[in-house]
Point group: C2
Chain length 201, copies 2
């Protein structure tokens, strides 16, 4: 079993890197197995299709990201500070990716949304679930900040959606220009979107 | 010559529809020619590669969009009204696309950015040029509004980038949820990002 689960992890890891680098459509099972260093025949022992593999890559990546987002956004810090730290963590992660791969790879879920959401319903549904949870987590922080009188928005959920949309839009441009400095305005933009009074530090 | 240029237009039209529907990587030249109803042999008479075709599709789409953006943003209307009309036109175009194809196809340039910008430098450069011009056009309107005291931003160009990023982010979610109502907050978000006082109508 040790070797078996090892092969599955190798396939997942190789697929994750390749999907980040080149998207989903451009990949073939043979190429993934070659990069993973596992025999092609073993692929269908672990995954019933390339789509099933993509869903597993998304789930694994989301488990890590959800852990990070929850840790940052459910911290004891002031609500707006937690949002600011989320953006700082996003920028740090994109910068670390750029230093490893040479290019800003962007958001795996944003990439798959624009590449795949109109092609397979299973991937569209999973992406919707993931972004719904992201919006939930941000919404809870906005509600707290609103209760403390630090922000003023007519609809906290719509505001949370706009904050996540701004994040995805800025990450798109960080990827296009291969420049994480594009992410710098996320924080002041979020304050503006939330009608917040900037807190002095 | 009539038939020759007709075949080129047919290939361009079919490629545009297929790229909007399924992205670039998933397509093959044979499929594009079949959809266009032209013999596969004629493809390389018009385009030296699939990448050259993608660039031609982008240029053709951009010529139309640039014409629309210029008409709307260089109009005689009040500056902020012009920005509002740009968002209304974007929403109307996405809704028309949804009614034709059944799904919101999103922004061709945003889609190609997340799918392709890390894969071919020629496509990345063209996309950068296109988004630079979009930001220029929005920036000019923000400068006008700033001169009239209707908005207050420390850096009009950074504000223009954030407005375009918000647009791309909201279009991404309109595509993911196949729902153009996701685009409704673009206008109030832009007012917030620009520190604008909403104008009564």
């Amino acid at each position: 079993m040790g070797r078996t689960s090892d092969a599955r992890e190798k396939i997942l890891g190789a697929a994750h890197s390749l999907i980040e680098l080149r998207g989903y459509s451009a990949l073939g099972v043979a190429e993934i197995c070659k990069a993973a260093g596992v025999p092609k025949g073993s692929f269908y022992y672990f995954f019933e299709s390339k789509e099933a593999l993509a869903l597993a890559v998304m789930d694994e990546h989301w488990a890590t990201q959800l852990h990070d987002w929850t840790r940052i956004l459910r911290d004891d810090a002031e609500p707006l500070d937690r949002l600011r730290r989320l953006f700082e963590a996003t920028e740090a992660r994109q910068l670390a990716g750029q230093q490893t791969c040479g290019t800003v790879s962007g958001c795996l879920f944003g990439n798959l949304t624009l590449e795949m959401s109109n092609q397979t319903e299973a991937i569209r549904e999973r992406l919707q679930q993931i972004f719904d949870v992201q919006v939930d987590l941000v919404d809870k922080v906005i509600i707290e900040a609103q209760e403390r009188g630090e922000v003023g928005v007519p609809d906290t959920r719509e505001a949370a959606r706009s904050v996540v949309a701004q994040l995805e839009g800025q990450v798109l441009f960080a990827k296009l220009y291969n420049d994480t400095r594009r992410l710098a305005p996320m924080w002041s933009n979020t304050l503006a979107l939330l009608g917040a009074r900037p807190v002095a530090h």
